[in-house]
Symmetry: C2
Subunit: 233 residues, 2 copies
């Protein structure tokens, strides 16, 4: 049984935080993602420090990190607030993905070894086997699939950017389900992608990935819209 916790691409943890700052970052981020913290809610340093029984310094550090990832907005002298993860936010990130991922893919096609293909096929087999039964697991596997392609890219900046965005998107989409249509499409595109990589069809692979990411974004945005409509109606 393979574990299916998504790992950040080798040698690129989001670090820059100290031990405690880092775990605080995790905790607060989870609170934001899970919705325990409302959108736009104020994040009061003293409160957070007390709630997690630390002093204020680590809290500030964690907030800075969260700001960097886009989960929190800080305005000088007015403190931090939970960033509302709204449709615009998600759209922005997907759009950047549509621009960057094809480039990462194009490079990967030129560099892929037979072992890489085996890896991809193995993960894809797991995805098919799981067949969306366990949503969380699907998310992790899907992330692993793309990580295999991107993690060795020479452009560390681009790969890092991708990973950061990926984490946000994973957090968001965790709240929704895949429609049947989307499930079929994901499978189709992954299989097709593997084929293109095998054939060394860099351009086709890149185009496909652009579609894949865009489709994924469109799907999540639909879900968000639907959920919002439900809430309003």
């Amino acid at each position: 049984m393979t574990d299916f916790k998504a790992q950040p691409p080798a040698g690129m943890e989001p670090t820059g935080a100290s031990t405690q700052g880092d775990s605080l970052y995790q905790l607060i981020r989870d609170d934001i993602i899970s919705g325990r913290l409302q959108a736009n809610e104020r994040l009061i340093v003293a409160d957070l420090a007390q709630r997690h029984s630390t002093s204020t310094n680590p809290v500030r550090e964690a907030l800075q990190l969260l700001r960097g990832e886009g989960f929190v907005v800080i305005s000088p002298n007015r403190g931090a607030r939970v960033r509302p993860i709204d449709q615009n936010f998600v759209r922005d990130i997907y759009e950047i993905g549509v621009l960057i991922e094809p480039a990462l893919t194009r490079w990967f096609v030129g560099m892929a070894t037979p072992e890489d293909i085996v890896q991809l096929e193995k993960v894809q087999a797991e995805i098919e086997e799981n067949n969306f039964a366990d949503a969380l697991r699907h998310s992790e596997l899907d992330t692993r699939f793309h990580t295999i392609m991107y993690e060795r890219h020479y452009n560390r900046h681009a790969a890092e950017l991708w990973w950061k965005h990926r984490e946000v998107l994973r957090a968001v989409s965790r709240r929704y389900n895949f429609t049947l249509a989307r499930r079929a499409q994901v499978m189709r595109e992954h299989r097709q992608l593997i084929q293109f990589i095998k054939d060394g069809e860099a351009e086709k692979a890149a185009t496909l990935v652009a579609q894949h990411v865009e489709g994924s974004g469109r799907h999540v945005l639909e879900q968000m819209r639907a959920a919002e409509a439900a809430r309003a109606g």
Copy 2:
């Protein structure tokens, strides 16, 4: 006399820092850019606090900010170091620019008003008038030129990313001169770009911008290589 200090696109200061943290950020960043701080030099919190006569807290904050912009590398329990702004670093950033800027441009072409065109032409006129005589001024004007195109883009993430990268690149290229060939090319491309925008030729404008950014990156990298060779030889 227009001032030619490059302004961040409206409503998007990179900050999130407090007054003092912010000015420290500026100061340290300048020290890094100007070379007063060596590559990989350790940034000791207590020292910096003393040098700038503040306490350690704002210094920590400033370092976090600098880390976010890529000027500083922080490793847990080992503190902060000046990030060597090497060729890979610069290449990575330009490559991302080549992916993102064309998309921003494409949108701008569809949205540009006559006033925008006037603005662009005015800045371009200033650029031509200055004709690279004052390098710093050229840099600011060139930045302003592109800011006009990007600052109103609906994708705030993308625009912000562009701006952050722009600041780094401006810092780096400040150290070098434009070759004659590059000067001519920049002028040509700007003029051509304005024309495409006037004609509503979004695709052509996008392609041209990709070239423009790539050319700019290539040029800076050449300079860096040359400088390094000179240092070694």
